[in-house]
Symmetry: C2
Subunit: 125 residues, 2 copies
Amino acid sequence: MTKKKEHLDCLNTVKPVRDALDVISGKWKLLIIISISVGNCRFTDIQESIPGITPRALAKELKDLEHHMLIKRLIVESYPIKISYTLDDYAKSLTPVIDALKDWGINHQKKLDGNKLIDSKEISS
Amino acid sequence: MTKKKEHLDCLNTVKPVRDALDVISGKWKLLIIISISVGNCRFTDIQESIPGITPRALAKELKDLEHHMLIKRLIVESYPIKISYTLDDYAKSLTPVIDALKDWGINHQKKLDGNKLIDSKEISS
DNA sequence: CCGTATCCTGCACGATACTG
DNA sequence: CAGTATCGTGCAGGATACGG
């Protein structure tokens, strides 16, 4: 059956897509990457730059991101202990993914907005 | 400050990215899109093509996907009622997104596998 | 055949307090 | 400063049964 083969090919797509989604989805991951990318490298700095995040959440997400090799954790001073988080070069490989998601998200939002305008002509600024 | 501006630009990225993730993340959405894309168009067919999915889950996801204009729901016969689900042309716009995620996911898995080998060597030594 | 209706469970995520 | 430790909660998703 050709259908079965096609189905299998598609499942070969689903797995890596899910792997990728696991890495970048979630409430904080992108925000943390962004915060580090603009120069925040200390735990407390990152925490203060992301309204609403708790130290528990930040610690967990930082570990995840480090495990996925998207950020690096460096001890820069042992007493008093100081840590520096930086983006790994590997994080750059995410650029096409982020861009594709961003472009589609913008376009999709426009499409949804267009639909809303049909219902109500209110435009919020 | 230029930092503040950069930070703002990045937040302008986060929102559409999250919008996009909301649409395609989740346990079943991609599988359903795939199932329909290979020719399954009846509720029961789709259900049987995706091992483990319950009617409740399928119904919910189909509604979401329809709301996001990725699939179309057509009543093809009123008694006994028969429904046909098809991919909306708009779903094609997701292709670059899926491809980017897939490529990155494949590459990332390779990278993790490579690292595992290093880790296990370090541990065993 | 195409779904709803109930009920249930796990886990992502939060609040708050505390420590080397 | 850079995190843990505890405790708590909401909600995505599951099991099972039933209805038009």
